[in-house]
Every structure is written in C-alpha cells, then in structure tokens.
C-alpha cells in the first residue's frame, strides 16, 4: 500500500496498488486525484487498463488492492454522486427517451422537470417520447449523457463515450459535453484513446501506458492544459501538447 500524503481538497482520490485478472497484473501502483469541477482526461493505448481503472472508480469492479475516496469517504460500490456514461449508450429499449433519462430516479419518472431541462440542454427536447430504436447513434449517446447527469453528480465518468460515432458528430458531442460540465460543479473523468480529444476537452491529461511490471498500466505522464476555453482545435498549443504525449508513448511526434 502506498503511503503518499492525501490531497486534502480532492473530490476524488484514487490509490490502486494492484489489480489483476487471474495472474496477469493489469494495473500497477496508480494514484490520481480530481478536484471538484475539474475535467481530467485519461488517455492511453488500447489494453493499458484505463477502462479497468474507470470501472474501479465507478464501483463496478471491487476486486483490487487500494481504495477510492470520494470526499475522503471510502467507496464500496457505485455512488449516487457519480454518473457514468459508457462507450455504448446502453439505453433501455423498452423505455422512451424521457424515462431513460430519468432512469436513476426510479420507474416511470419521465415527467420529472429535470428531464425536460436536460433534454433541452442536449438538444433533444422534441424526442422525449421517442423510443431508442428511432434514435441515431449520436442522439442515443446524448440521451445517455443526459441520463448520466440526471442526478446532478459531483463526478461524471465517461468511458470512450464518442468512439462509436462519426468524426463530425464526435466534435459536436465534445463541445456539448464541455457546455454541460465546464465551469460547473461536475468534475469529469474522461477515458479516451484519442489524444486530440483528451487534449481538447481536459484541464489535465493523464497518459496511461502499459509500462509497469509485466505490461501493467501506469500513469506515465501528466500534462496540465493552461489555456482557457473555447480552445482552437488547430492551435499550436495542441501540436506541442500532442508532441509531448507522443514522445512519452515512444511514437515519433514529427
């Protein structure tokens, strides 16, 4: 167990000293903290354990060494203060959009005023009574984001949420996510394998690589992005930051 000092003002404080599947170690000593309202990206190549780490933080995986503290409280399983958006929308096909968004509140709560508010924010105010089968992939993911935010969580976890949509939709969804969480009270941890996405969205980018013992995932580098928002998707800052990440990944940055 690591005995590094805890960050007092952190909303989320994660210390994982080990996580294995059978005999394979997938996570090596990892520590990360997120302050309230902060947007953090966790980026890395496929199979480096970033989704595993997110599942641990979400409380879906309890079989690891270490602990997850939310406001200094040790977490044992999922918390109502944490919203999760998965890679796929995971909408319940038998519920209309409104009831899917209100799913965390309980059955048949689609008439909750918060639903209309959130659907307006994600641009789907007119789709509230549609069934998921009538939604495009991008729309369905917007519903999933609205559902993740329904409980006004202090922390929103997103697991490669835009990897299954086309490039244009992805950029729109990124801006939508920023409009929902930046400057607000919701801290965000975004797992992605897209370097540009990580850099564009986050206040801080954590690069995870399989550089630990036996290929276990470790956080190899941390980059703070000082720029204010909105950011230029083509700005020189992006190339510089990307260069740093590529260098750590051992890929030529030219």
């Amino acid at each position: 167990m690591l005995t590094l000092p805890r960050t007092a003002d952190a909303l989320l404080d994660v210390r994982v000293s080990g996580k294995r599947y059978d005999t394979r170690v997938v996570l090596d000593s990892i520590s990360l903290t997120i302050k309230a309202g902060e947007i953090v990206s966790l980026v890395g190549p496929s199979g480096c354990g970033k989704s595993t780490l997110l599942r641990i933080i979400a409380g879906l995986d309890r079989n690891y060494d270490g602990d997850v503290l939310l406001d200094s409280q040790r977490q044992q399983g999922p918390s109502s203060r944490v919203g999760v958006v998965f890679q796929e929308p995971r909408l319940l096909p038998w519920l209309d959009v409104a009831n899917n968004v209100a799913f965390p509140a309980g059955p048949r709560r689609g008439s909750d005023p918060r639903v209309g508010e959130l659907l307006a924010q994600v641009g789907l105010a007119n789709a509230r009574s549609s069934l998921p089968k009538h939604l495009s992939g991008g729309m369905a993911q917007r519903v999933a984001i609205a559902r993740g935010l329904f409980t006004n969580p202090d922390l929103l976890l997103l697991d490669e949420p835009f990897s299954a949509v086309d490039a244009i939709t992805r950029m729109r969804l990124q801006d939508l996510l920023l409009s929902l969480v930046s400057g607000g009270k919701t801290a965000t941890l975004l797992v992605t394998h897209d370097l540009d996405e990580a850099l564009y969205l986050a206040d801080r980018v954590l690069l995870m690589t399989p550089s630990g013992h036996g290929g276990a995932g470790r956080i190899a580098r941390e980059i703070a992005i000082p720029d204010g928002r909105p950011r230029d998707r083509n700005g020189p800052w992006l190339a510089a930051a990307r260069g740093k990440l590529l260098e750590s990944l051992g890929v030529s940055g030219s």
Binding site: P93, F103, P104, Q121, S129, L176
Partner: protein
C-alpha cells in the same frame, strides 16, 4: 445549452417510413384463404370419389355432423375444453415464471433444480395420465394439472434462458444506479427477457391444447378430446375430423390473441418485421 443549433431537432422524430405493405397484405389474405381452398378441394375430391369418404369425410359432412350436435352441446364441448386450457395454462405459466425467475436469478437454485426439471420435462404427456387419475380422481383437477404440466416446461425454459441472456451491459447500468435485486429484476431483467418469455408462452399455450386432448381422451364426458374419442369409439370419422378442425381453429385463435398481446407489449423491439 447545446452550442451547435444543428443538434436540435426541428420537429418530433418522425417514425421510420412504413414499407408499403399492400403486397404483403395480399399474401396474408392468401394465407388465410389457403385452408379454405384446401377444404373446398377435399370436398370436390370426396364427391368425385377420388378419395374414399369413409377415410376422409367431406367437409360438408363434417359441418353437418357438428351442426347436428347442436349449438348448445357444441358450445359446451368447446367451453369445457377452453376453460380447462385457460386454467391449466395460467397456472402452469405462472408457476413457470416464478420458478424460471428464481432459477434465472440464482445459479445455486438452477444447479439444484435443473436436473429434476430436465428429467420431468422428458416425461410424455400420456404417461402422466394414470398417475394423475390415481392421485386426483377423474374430476377437473387431474385434467387441469396435466395441462399445467404441459404449459409449464416451455415457459420455464424460456424464462430461465431469457434472464440468462440479458445483456451484461444493461445489468451493469442497473448496478451503477444501485438497484436492489428486486428492482434489477423488475426494471431490467424482466422487460429485457420478455421477447423470449412471450415465445415460451406461445409454445406453452399450444402444448396446453395438446395436453388437454390427452387429458380428455381418458376420463371426460365433455370437451373436444371427449368428442374425439367418442367419434372414434362410435365409428364416426366425421365427428373425429370435426373435433380436429375445431382444435386447429381454437389453437390458432388463442395464439393470435397471444401474438397480438406480444406485439403490443413488445412494440419497442427494433426488428426488421416490427413497424
């Protein structure tokens, strides 16, 4: 607010266009007409004595035999059989859903009960008859029990398989939202397995009709199974065929009702044939 106006929908989502169904509609009508055409053909073949009348009575002879039974007696036979099927099916399906849910949710209960249920499932319907007569006499109880046994297994199998096959990702969504076991069952597992459960219910209903005939062949004074065995014993093929036609008709009708309910309840399914 969405920073990009193109995200907003201009109007409520339009339902996907329906495929022009007039062509298919014609085939549906043809499907309903097919048995009628077949009966008409039989009528002609029997009248022309291509087919011997003592083996296959002409449809008009069958209709006449049923007519001679009289509406009241016919209604009594149909009513007795239908009520038995309804009662047996409801009891069997309810028990199957309860056991299936328990076994679908708990690996331990599944491991405990599965071998016994597999063995019981392979017992043919007629083998139950003497046992049930011995235990329950010749009243309604053994008949309804036999029908319930027939309906039980397909529904049970479908419920267990349905719950097992629910996408792990949806279960995880329930976990993230901290659903209790009961909530997880009602809000995710049950609705997600409804398509399979309905398939099981329809199979169970058709088996209920079959088991009903087995029950009535032995000890009954009313019902279509009784009509069948009565026709056989008194050398009346017209009555036998009449009972068979009625069984086919009632089976089809009851399945149509269930199918209608299925399409209503499962309208959310994203299949190429729905909508």
């Amino acid at each position: 607010m969405a920073s990009d106006d193109s995200l907003a929908l201009p109007r409520p989502l339009a339902k996907p266009e329906r495929r022009p169904s007039s062509a298919l509609q014609r085939w549906r009508i043809a499907g309903l007409l097919l048995p009628i055409v077949f009966l008409a053909l039989m009528e002609v073949l029997v009248r022309l004595q291509v087919v011997p009348g003592h083996l296959v009575p002409a449809p008009s002879t069958i209709a006449e035999a049923l007519w001679q039974l009289g509406g009241e007696r016919l209604a009594r036979h149909i009513g007795a059989s239908s009520l038995r099927v309804l009662a047996g099916f409801m009891i069997g399906a309810a028990a199957a859903i309860a056991f299936g849910a328990a076994m679908g949710l708990s690996r331990r209960l599944d491991a405990l009960f599965d071998p016994s249920f597999q063995a019981l499932r392979s017992i043919p319907s007629l083998a139950w008859v003497p046992v049930l007569l011995l235990w329950m006499g010749i009243d309604e109880a053994p008949k309804i029990t036999l029908i319930a046994i027939g309906a039980f297994f397909p529904v049970h199998l479908a419920v267990v398989a349905g719950i097992r096959d629910v996408d792990r990702k949806l279960v995880e969504l329930g976990e993230v939202n901290r659903l209790s076991h009961a909530e997880l069952f009602v809000r995710i597992l049950l609705p997600a397995s409804l398509p399979q459960i309905f398939t099981g219910l329809r199979t169970g209903l058709s088996l209920a009709w079959m088991f009903m005939v087995a029950a009535e062949l032995i000890a009954a004074t009313r019902g279509l199974g009784y009509l069948l065995s009565d026709g056989r014993e008194t050398g009346r093929p017209d009555l036998v065929f009449g009972a068979i036609l009625l069984l086919a008709l009632l089976g089809k009708l009851s399945d149509t009702v269930l199918k209608f309910a299925e399409n209503r309840v499962l309208s959310w399914r994203d299949t190429s044939l729905s909508n």
